[in-house]
């Protein structure tokens, strides 16, 4: 997708729309959900992108794990703005990557675009990055987030959850897309 956008900006070439495919969508039903899961991810793409909206009651940071690995095999960082100042943080041996932001106001949902690069490459660890934000009309964050999974296995499943354990509320929705290479 990045090449598509770059091509559009630099030379006006038409996007190669067949290289970007929808794989699956998870929408949270009544009662909410603790985890959004994409499983049995096909290995026919080069990169993955996850796009979604999410709401929680109190805490806003979303985490991401690959292949159900809950061990301290992740590093993660964020750079954010809270409306008054910029902040940054991270951890070297964490149990998840940072992957997004929720909103907490009634009917407000955070927006997230998460890139998972070279997800099936068994020669390298896996790195993700995210642009995310949740605005509550008076509070909220916009954030760059990232994570590294110290594992060379191909990614076949992805879990997204609120890192402090908040329930992801009804109508939150995430869609998984595959981006082909040549």
């Amino acid at each position: 997708m990045l090449n598509i956008i770059a091509g559009t900006l630099s030379s006006g070439v038409a996007p190669v729309t067949s290289s970007y495919e929808s794989i699956a969508t998870v929408t949270v039903g009544a009662g909410g959900s603790s985890t959004i899961t994409f499983s049995s991810i096909p290995s026919t793409y080069t990169h993955l992108q996850i796009r979604g909206i999410a709401r929680t009651a109190t805490n806003v940071s979303l985490g991401l794990r690959f292949n159900s690995d809950t061990a301290s095999n992740y590093s993660r960082h964020y750079l954010n703005g809270n409306g008054a100042s910029a902040g940054a943080g991270g951890g070297a041996s964490s149990t998840s990557a940072y992957a997004g932001t929720t909103a907490t106001a009634t009917s407000a949902f955070g927006a997230n675009v998460i890139d998972v690069l070279d997800y099936k490459d068994t020669n390298k660890y896996k790195t993700i990055r995210a642009l995310s934000g949740g605005d509550n009309n008076g509070s909220g964050f916009v954030q760059f987030m990232s994570g590294n999974w110290r594992n060379t296995n191909a990614v076949s499943s992805i879990d997204i959850f609120q890192v402090d354990g908040d329930t992801i509320t009804q109508y939150s929705s995430f869609a998984l897309y595959g981006i082909k290479g040549v």
Binding site: E21, S22, S107, A108, G138, V142, Q143, S173
Partner: protein, 174 residues
């Protein structure tokens, strides 16, 4: 898992003359998210791009919008907020200059056609001599978005310049 090709170009506008607003209207509700790629110059420069949403062809000009900004100036990082405004602020330091090609912005307008949630949009803007911004904007309406209007500042005193481009894409989830 189902798979289907998506990321569809919907419309492109290349300005043939200077204008204060650029509007995408009658946007079909057949997509999940919208992406808008903007490469613009503004008369006089140093003016924010602002945008509003509409439904049924009517732009909402009430104070139903808010924005949170993360910015970098080249020497410092910071954050800024506007609440209960009549527009979403697209940029803060990465405001377009008066020179074409010096700025770029990509907007992500999420779940735009649902009628259950308020609408949230992300934007990333760069301006070669100004800075870099990331913004999240909220429209406190559950109406489906079928119109997006970009302003070279809603005060109407400045214009997007000839040659500025605005391209709208639709992304459909399985």
């Amino acid at each position: 898992m189902a798979a289907g090709s998506t990321y569809t170009p919907i419309a492109t506008t290349t300005l043939g003359s200077n204008t204060n607003t650029v509007t995408f209207s009658s946007i079909a509700n057949t997509y999940t998210d919208l992406v808008v790629v903007v490469s613009a110059a503004i008369s006089g420069g140093a003016t924010d791009i602002q945008y509003r949403f509409g439904n049924g062809g009517t732009i909402d000009t009430a104070s139903n919008y808010s924005t949170t900004v993360l910015y970098g100036t080249g020497t410092a990082a910071g954050s800024y907020r506007q609440s209960s405004q009549t527009y979403i602020l697209a940029d803060y330091y990465a405001v377009p200059s008066s020179t074409l090609g010096n700025s770029a912005a990509i907007f992500q307008i999420m779940n735009y056609s649902n009628t259950t949630t308020f609408k949230t949009a992300l934007n990333r803007s760069n301006q070669a001599g100004g800075g870099v911004d990331a913004t999240v904007g909220l429209w406190r309406s559950t109406a489906a978005i079928d119109t997006i209007r970009f302003y070279a500042n809603t005060n109407g005193t400045q214009n997007f310049l000839t040659g500025s481009t605005f391209t709208l894409y639709g992304i459909t989830a399985a």
